[in-house]
Every structure is written in C-alpha cells, then in structure tokens.
C-alpha cells in the first residue's frame, strides 16, 4: 500500500472552502489555474496519480503499467469496474477518446503541448488526423501508448488533469458546456453550481478507491475577498480559505497562538524570479546581468512579505528533484555589483524598465528591487500592469525586466524538466513565448533533451544532468531567482488530516479526497 490512511479519520461532514475568483471551468482539458486544478482532481482521475501529500507517483485508473525497454511504449492495465458518475463503466476507449480530445486543436486545450511526445501528435495538431496514432486500445481494459521519442516525464504527464478520462457521450451531449456539467470517475461529483456563488461537491459513493473520500461534501463559496474569508474563518463559518492567509492578516494570525496553531506551512514547487531580457541592451551583457543578480537583497524582499519565503539561488525550488544542494548562486554583494557595470562600459549606470503584475505584494517587491538596483546606479522605472499586459509585453520581448510574481511558474508536475522548456529553453524564446528572458542556448537545450530521453525519470544520472542544466543557465544569469515562496494556509479547528494534505504540492490548496472533519 502506497498510502496509510489516517486512523483517526471518520467519514461524514461537509466543509466550506472560499475563493475570490469564480471557478472558471471544471473541464479537465481546459482548467489550468490553481483554483480549479485541485477541484478537477477530485472530480476526475487519470491513469496515474500521486500519493496524497507527496510528489510520489502511484497508479490511478491504471491498475498497473509496463514500460518498454527503450521507454517509448507504455502499456496500462485498467482497473475493473470503475464507473463514471453517470453509472457507465469506464473502458480503454474512454482513455483513448480523452487523449484524442485534449490534443485536438478544436478543444483549444492549454495543456495540449504536454502530449507532444505521443506518436501522431503532430498530425493531430496540424489537423491532418482526428486521433492519436500512438494511442491504441488493446482490449477494453488495456491501452497502449507509443511515444515518438523517449520521455522521462511521461508518467507525470499522465497524472496531469489534462490526461483525465472523460465519458464521450457526456462530452458530446454538453459540447462546450461540459465545463459546467463535468462527469468523471473522481471521488466527488458535482451537485450544484450557482454561477458567482458556489460550487458544491458531493461524495461519490461508488468511488473505486475504498474508504475515501471521507467528506460527504465540499462547498466552494466564490467571490470572497481573502480578507473577508479570513474573518469568516475566525468566526467559524469557513473551514479552508482557498486563497490562503492574506498578507494584511498574516501578522495578526501569527501573533495569536490559538490561530497560529492552525496555520499550516509547506513548500511548494514555486520560484519567484526576475527575467532579464538578454536581447535588450544593456542586459545583453553578462556583466550587467551578474550585477543585477548580486545587487538584489533577497532577505529584505522576504522581510517585506513577512518572511513567507526562502531565498532562491537557482531556478529550481528546493523540493524539486535535481535541485543542486549547496549551489551558492550570486551572493548579495553591493560593492561587487557596483564594479560590474563598469566592466560593460556603463560606469554611469543606465535606466531601464521593470514590468510587474499589479496585485499586492508584487508592486511592493518591484519597488524593493528598484531600490536595490538604484544602489548600483541602475534607474528602474516600474510598469505595474494587469497580468495580461505583462504577459503580452514579456512574450513580445518588449520588457527588459519582469518580476514574475503572480504569474510565476508553479510546476505542473514535480520534475525538473518542467522548469526549463517554455521558460528557459529556445522553444519558448520565440515571439509570444513564455521565455521572457529570450534566453536561448543550443548547448544547454541539447543537454536538456538528453536528460529527458531517459526512461527512468528518477535516475541519478538524469537528475545530475538537470542540475548541470540549471547551473549552466545561472552561469549566464538570464534570471535573478529571488525566492521560493512557502505556502501558508489555515484551517478551522474541526478539520482533520495530516498537515501535508493542506499543502499538498499537486493538489493546492487541499486534497479534498483525504481530509476529514473531527466533529
């Protein structure tokens, strides 16, 4: 058994979770924000899954799987007797349909790109085929997936929400409205959705995993200002504030021992960084980029956000495999940083722009960065804009510097490769790509490809290669990794279950399937 159930867990009870934003969609092929990510996880299942509260893979709808020697053929044996919420039994046909659907351009899935390694993907994207040639139904309970190239992360991909199994007849019935009428195989079913007010989940009594979920239901109340949600939590009306503890209340909560005891802290696969556009002078000069790296007082920035983070030295967060322990990065050294621009012939300093998303605390962090850089003669003008405008400027390569906060990379799955391709590799450096540094080093790209071609994602050589990739990247300093944000959340007194479930790295903010109430 990969997971030992909590002996104290008792079934029954419902909980209330609040969110500021409305739930966008519950269609697993489309939902891609951290709010609906965990909801979809509880409504749907994929072939693969994670051990609750960890980043460890375990089989999901697949009972078992086999990988061919060269790592390009995956054969999954499905569980028997798994039914969708509508009562129909799930088969291999459904798995194939689901993978075809998510890659079909008409679905407009933002996750389609994850499946690029499956054979026939290119034909589907180009509109030449309706169906992935690499996905074959062997028999109703067996499915075989052939990759066009080895992909060490493929099992993680199959654990993504995008790979969730959906029933064809329901999708076709609702068409584009499947997102508000989701039917899956998950631990919960959707009972009610009142737009702008609440989404209610009900326990799936026929869930294929025994004993879970514990809760009879979960009510998500949306449109709640985080600060109000916390007030309600303090009044006992809310069990989990989905948006976490608002900065304005953090100090108050931590100063009260009773409340502080209910705060849960955990790492997350997140890095906050500044991109330096390597195509824009003077950031095209390494010395300048190094100077910026050395000038940032990360401790002060962390102090400004009430110490809710740890300083970062490299792109990967510490809990990610492949993280280089002991890598010093660029230490804070104002004097050293002052000397650098002179090397690049910019002794008098220069003026540049820093783009930042306009929600607290990002503009504050930008101002701290601004002050740090002014110490070494770099005058920074801040462009505090709406998210969409920052992404646009970053994609178009117009932004010399961007503070990533609010749009930052939170890993889709716990694998080092997830922090490279689109944001540091050549693939994302094109116009509109998410590689806002526009950093593109063929040699490093080659190493990354090599690392991804391993069959075993956890093999030490592979992790070694990734460690090397990120060290090489840092040698070129296209980024200033600033901090790795810690996740702080709170729960009501009646909530039970291990703390890890509340800071579940893949199921933020709560793993609804495994938490329970104590009264």
């Amino acid at each position: 058994q990969d997971y030992t159930p909590d002996p104290a867990a008792t079934p029954g009870g419902t909980i209330t979770v609040t969110y500021k934003d409305d739930v966008a969609t519950l269609d697993p092929a489309i939902g891609y924000d951290w709010q609906n990510w965990s909801m979809i996880k509880s409504l749907f299942d994929g072939l693969m899954d994670y051990v609750p509260g960890t980043t460890e893979l375990r089989p999901g709808l697949a009972e078992s799987y086999e990988v061919s020697e060269d790592g390009t053929v995956f054969t999954f044996a499905l569980r028997q007797g798994v039914t969708f919420h509508n009562g129909r039994e799930m088969t291999a046909e459904d798995v194939k349909y689901s993978l075809d659907r998510v890659t079909n351009p008409e679905t407009q899935s933002p996750g389609a790109g994850f499946f690029a390694s499956i054979a026939g993907y290119d034909a589907v994207t180009a509109g030449e085929a309706d169906s992935l040639s690499g996905v074959e139904v062997v028999d109703p309970l067996t499915i075989r997936i052939t990759l066009s190239r080895p992909d060490a992360t493929f099992l993680h991909v199959m654990a993504l929400n995008f790979a969730s199994v959906v029933p064809q007849e329901v999708v076709e019935e609702f068409g584009a409205d499947f997102g508000t009428n989701p039917v899956g195989t998950g631990a919960f079913t959707l009972a009610e959705w009142t737009i702008g007010q609440r989404v209610v989940f009900e326990k799936n009594a026929d869930y294929w995993r025994d004993g879970v979920p514990y809760l009879d239901g979960v009510t998500f109340e949306v449109g709640q200002e985080p600060i109000v949600a916390l007030l309600r939590l303090q009044q006992g009306e809310v069990d989990v504030p989905g948006d976490g503890i608002p900065p304005a209340k953090f100090q108050e909560v931590m100063d009260d021992p009773d409340q502080a005891a209910r705060v849960v802290e955990g790492g997350q696969l997140h890095t906050g960084y500044i991109t330096l556009n390597v195509n824009t002078p003077p950031f095209d000069q390494l010395a300048v980029r190094e100077a910026v790296n050395m000038a940032i007082n990360k401790d002060r920035i962390i102090q400004v956000i009430n110490g809710r983070a740890v300083p970062a030295t490299q792109p990967l967060p510490p809990s990610m495999p492949g993280y280089t322990e002991g890598f010093a990065g660029f230490p804070y050294d104002v004097e050293g940083a002052k000397a650098k621009p002179a090397e690049a012939g910019l002794a008098d300093g220069f003026t540049t722009e820093l783009y930042v998303m306009n929600t607290d605390p990002n503009p504050r962090i930008a101002q701290a960065i601004q002050q740090d850089l002014s110490q070494i003669g770099i005058e920074v003008e801040i462009r505090s804009l709406a998210q969409a405008n920052v992404i646009e400027a970053g994609g178009a390569g117009e932004a010399p510097m961007i503070w990533s906060g609010g749009m930052a990379w939170i890993a889709d799955f716990p694998d080092p490769s997830n922090f490279y391709g689109p944001i540091l590799g050549c693939a994302g450096a094109g116009d509109g790509g998410w590689n806002w540094s526009k950093f593109c080093d063929e040699a490093i790209d080659a190493t990354a490809t090599e690392a991804d071609s391993f069959v075993d994602p956890a093999s030490p050589e592979r992790l070694e290669l990734w460690s090397q990739v990120y060290q090489d990247v840092m040698a070129q300093a296209p980024w200033v990794p600033v901090f790795n944000e810690q996740r702080y959340t709170m729960k009501s007194a009646r909530m039970g279950g291990a703390d890890a479930l509340y800071v579940d790295p893949v199921s933020i903010p709560v793993n609804y399937d495994y938490v329970f109430v104590t009264e």
Partner: protein
C-alpha cells in the same frame, strides 16, 4: 466673476474688495490656510522631510516586516516598505493636487463648455453634443480609462488627461440642464436685442449663474478624482510606483486598515481636508461674488 466689464467704472479695484470680503469669513480663511499648507508642503517637501519619499528605510520595518506606527522617528509612521509616510504624503500631495485640482478642473471646464454650448445652441450642434454626452455617459468610464491608459504608457499627465476625459460627462449634463433654463430667461433675450454675440452671452451672462453649481461639482469632484486615480493605479494603469499619491497610498494599503490603520486614514483625512478646504473657499467666494445672495441666509 460678476464684474466682467472691461470698463473701469470704479476707482477701487474689485478684486481687492473680493479678497477683503473673503478674509472676513473665518471658515474661508481656514479653508485657504489648508490649501496654502498643502500647496506649500508639496512645493517645499524636499526641505521639510528627513527622508526621501521612496527611501526604504532599514528601521522602517520590524523584523517581521510590519510597518512602524506614527510617533517616534517617523511622524506619521512608515508604510509596508518601510518608507516614511510623512514624506510620501508631502510628495503625494503633488500628484493629488494635479489630479484633484488640475484634472478635475479640466473635466469641469470641458463639461461646462460642452453643456453650455449644447444648452445654448440647440440646433444640430447642440443635439450632436448632447448625444455624444449621452453616449459617454452610457460608456463605462473605468473601461475607457483603462483602455486609454493602457494604450498610452501610463504616466501622471496621461492619467490626469484620462481622468479629465471621462469625468466631464456629469458636469456637462447638469450644466446643460441649467443652461437651457437660463437661456429662456428674459435678460438673455434682452442681451440678444442689444446685438450681443453668442459667446458674449454664454460667457458673460450665463456662465456666472452656473458658478454655485460648478462649485458644488468642482469641490466634490476633488475627492472623486483623487480616488479614481487610485483605482486606476490599482488596475495597473495609474501613476506608476513608487510615485506616491494620496489615493494610491490608500489603495496600496487598504486591506491593512486594521493592522496599520494610519496608512489608510491619514491619506483619507488629507483628501477630505483638501476637498473641504476648496469647498469652504468656494462657498465663500460664491457668496461674495453673487450680489443677489448678499443679505440672504
């Protein structure tokens, strides 16, 4: 305003009289004192403050990152980045004066001009102007502001312009209504028979009668525009950080109204005082300038 004739009919210059009469009103003096203090503070800020407005002071934050309350080293406390609030308030007065007085004033002028012309001209010019006003009124002002500010790079003057461009509409409506009824008055017909040109009638005879309304709208508009600027900052299209303005100090810190109330209530009080001060002076000015009001309540 009433004394618009170029003929020096009187030896004693009118302005001096107006000023003297203004001076006699205690409330007006109080208002004037506040305005002078704010403007003076804004101009002389560099010589008054001990810290720069954007200086993030090491002592300005506790180890946990909490701001300092007023008193002690920092007269009005510090903000969430450890900056001296007093310095930010003084420098912020510059921005807020530009928004609340210049942009709001511009909006008032545009609104008045549009409302006046439309109300007076009737015909197709008036119709077109009023339909345009109706359209602008139906248009969500905030959206327009966001789009304009996003299309141009946001800066103080762009923001001021945007605010002026979206805020004139209500004034125009109100002025329009008043102008149409004024234009019906007999003394306007009398002016016409004298051969007075349209612009003369508008500016010499109708405009002065709008002064009381304009004072109410103008002074209430100060708070509204200063807060609108802050809303724009909040939406990412306003005055860019770290430039302080009273409005954006409030908006940056509004969720902290319990943890650090001074960051919200001090700038809030400042906006209120400024608007009040202008109102006091405006009210007094109206009474002094309007001969028909003298002796009445």
């Amino acid at each position: 305003m009433a004394d618009t004739s170029p003929i020096p009919l009187h030896a004693p210059a009118a302005p001096a009289g107006v000023l003297r009469r203004l001076m006699r009103r205690k409330l007006a003096l109080f208002g004037l004192a506040i305005i002078v203090a704010v403007v003076g503070g804004a101009i002389l800020a560099p010589w008054i403050v001990r810290y720069g407005p954007n200086e993030q002071l090491f002592d300005g934050l506790t180890l946990q990152g909490a701001p300092m309350p007023p008193g002690g080293d920092f007269l009005l406390g510090t903000d969430l980045l450890g900056r001296d609030l007093f310095a930010r308030m003084l420098y912020g007065a510059r921005t807020s004066l530009i928004i609340g007085v210049v942009a709001n004033g511009a909006a008032l002028i545009i609104g008045t001009l549009v409302g006046l012309t439309a109300g007076f001209l009737r015909g197709w010019v008036g119709a077109v102007l009023m339909r345009f006003t109706d359209l602008m009124m139906a248009f969500p002002a905030l959206l327009l502001a966001i789009c304009l500010a996003a299309i141009f790079q946001p800066s103080l003057w762009i923001v001021a312009m945007v605010i002026a461009l979206v805020n004139w509409v209500q004034t125009a409506r109100v002025v329009y209504t008043e102008t149409t009824s004024l234009a019906e008055r007999e003394f306007i017909a009398a002016e016409r028979t004298l051969g007075a040109s349209g612009s003369r009638i508008l500016f010499r005879h109708i405009l002065p009668h709008l002064v009381p309304t304009l004072i109410v709208w103008g002074t209430l508009g100060i708070s509204v525009t200063v807060l609108l600027e802050a809303t724009l900052s909040f939406l990412g299209v306003g005055v860019q950080p770290p430039t302080p303005s009273w409005g954006n100090i409030i908006f940056e810190n509004q969720t902290y109204f319990q943890a650090a109330p001074w960051l919200v209530f001090i700038p809030g009080a400042a906006i209120l005082l400024l608007a009040l001060a202008f109102n006091l002076v405006g009210d007094a000015l109206r009474d002094v300038l309007d001969p028909t009001q003298r002796g009445r309540d």
